[in-house]
């Protein structure tokens, strides 16, 4: 009886477009859904540092290197905002990291693809961050207060990421024929995985149902994907590249671009651990975490020693 009452109040807050805060009553499934979604989001930010980190030492200029370092530092920061938001739901940072390492928690499949040329750094910023921004702008209005606040902060920082990527692509596209080809090749490889970032079609999306009623998600996968396509086509034309989709065409009546079928078999393969780099990405994270154990131990020993000194004094 008590729960029914709680549930009604909870849904009333959500329907009024107000926010749920950490200490408020919430259904267990709401909490679980949030932990899964926010932690996956946090892990994606952190794992996403790897394909770009791979290019720090090979950035083509000092300017490019400084920008890349700042961008990667932002990604680390975004991961930390999200971990903190997730921890307000009653899970610890240690548990979150453990879930990533054991494979219980996932991260975005896009980061299992390699960044093989400098143009890939452009494509990642322009397309991968571009797709992420479309999703994150929508999530600024999510019903859980700490998640919403993290999203607002992230969105403020993220548009630099997309613009720096687009600048790289634009420069390459206007360069020598080889450079233009490199840019087109990166677009060819990153286009479809970027569309997959929005997840399965609405008709096949296993987690979407309650997420919409609870306003954790505000717009569906297909709506967000369409928005990304519609704004990216024009940007592609401006720099003289071509989206690798023969079926892409403007639909006058609907006012949107129609697109070809996404290869969901590839999507499922990558999600289930068979992408090009799943094992390497995770192994890198585990080894960085384990190699950092002595730092955590030293910091804790120092903190304990300071506490003792305060007691003695």
């Amino acid at each position: 009886m008590e729960n029914v009452n709680h549930l009604e109040k909870f849904q009333a807050v959500i329907d009024a477009d107000s926010k749920i805060e950490p200490k408020d009553w919430m259904p267990e499934d709401y909490r679980k859904h949030l932990i899964r979604q926010i932690s996956q989001h946090a892990h994606s930010e952190v794992i996403g540092m790897q394909p770009e980190g791979n290019w720090i030492t090979r950035a083509p200029s000092l300017r490019a290197k400084l920008i890349l370092l700042a961008k990667i530092q932002d990604e680390a920061g975004h991961g930390l905002y999200l971990y903190s938001a997730c921890e307000t739901l009653g899970i610890s940072r240690e548990e979150l990291i453990e879930q990533l390492h054991t494979g219980k928690a996932k991260y975005s499949s896009i980061f299992n693809y390699p960044a093989v040329t400098w143009a890939d750094i452009g494509a990642i910023g322009w397309l991968v961050d571009g797709a992420a921004i479309v999703n994150q702008i929508s999530l600024q209005r999510t019903s859980y207060g700490p998640y919403s606040r993290a999203m607002i902060r992230i969105c403020k920082e993220e548009s630099f990421h997309q613009r720096q990527g687009y600048e790289i692509m634009g420069k390459l596209a206007l360069g020598t024929p080889e450079q233009k080809e490199m840019a087109q090749d990166a677009l060819n490889r990153w286009w479809w995985p970027s569309l997959m970032m929005f997840g399965p079609h609405d008709t096949d999306s296993p987690h979407s149902g309650k997420a919409m009623t609870w306003r954790i998600k505000r717009e569906s996968n297909d709506v967000l994907r369409q928005r990304f396509i519609d704004k990216t086509v024009q940007q592609t034309e401006v720099i003289g590249l071509k989206i690798p989709d023969d079926k892409l065409k403007w639909n006058e009546t609907k006012g949107v671009y129609e697109h070809g079928e996404i290869d969901w078999e590839e999507f499922n393969q990558v999600i289930n651990g068979n992408g090009p780099l799943n094992k390497i990405r995770l192994a890198n994270h585990i080894s960085a975490h384990e190699n950092g154990a002595w730092v955590r131990e030293a910091a804790n020993a120092y903190a304990a020693k300071q506490k003792k000194e305060v007691l003695v004094a």
């Binding site: 200490k23 930390l80 131990e297 804790n300």
Partner: protein
């Protein structure tokens, strides 16, 4: 608390003053094992783009928060006490600057 090997430090709440003269506002949290590290982490995480002129960090465990179920009692709008607002009072005709 889990074992030392995995311990990420305690949680601290971060308050940033965006410009001189205005109140510090809650920005988020950081993990740190001591107060210097908390301040450093807060700087690195929350003020990379001149977002602030001053930072406070407070151990999360030191914050006492009101409970959502008490909010009715605590934050009653007191509509029965209109005399707390200046518009309640009738000023003499013609009085200026009051």
């Amino acid at each position: 608390m889990s074992n030392t090997k995995d311990n990420q430090g305690q949680l601290w709440e971060v308050f940033v003053q965006a410009s001189p003269g205005i109140p510090h506002k809650h920005s988020g949290s950081v993990h740190a094992t001591d107060k210097e590290m908390a301040l450093q982490n807060a700087r690195d995480l929350y003020t990379r783009r001149s977002e602030g002129t001053s930072i406070w960090v407070v151990p999360s465990s030191a914050i006492v928060a009101s409970a959502p179920e008490d909010s009715g009692m605590l934050f009653d709008p007191s509509n029965d006490k209109p005399y707390r607002h200046p518009t309640f009072y009738v000023m003499p005709e013609g009085a200026k600057n009051i």
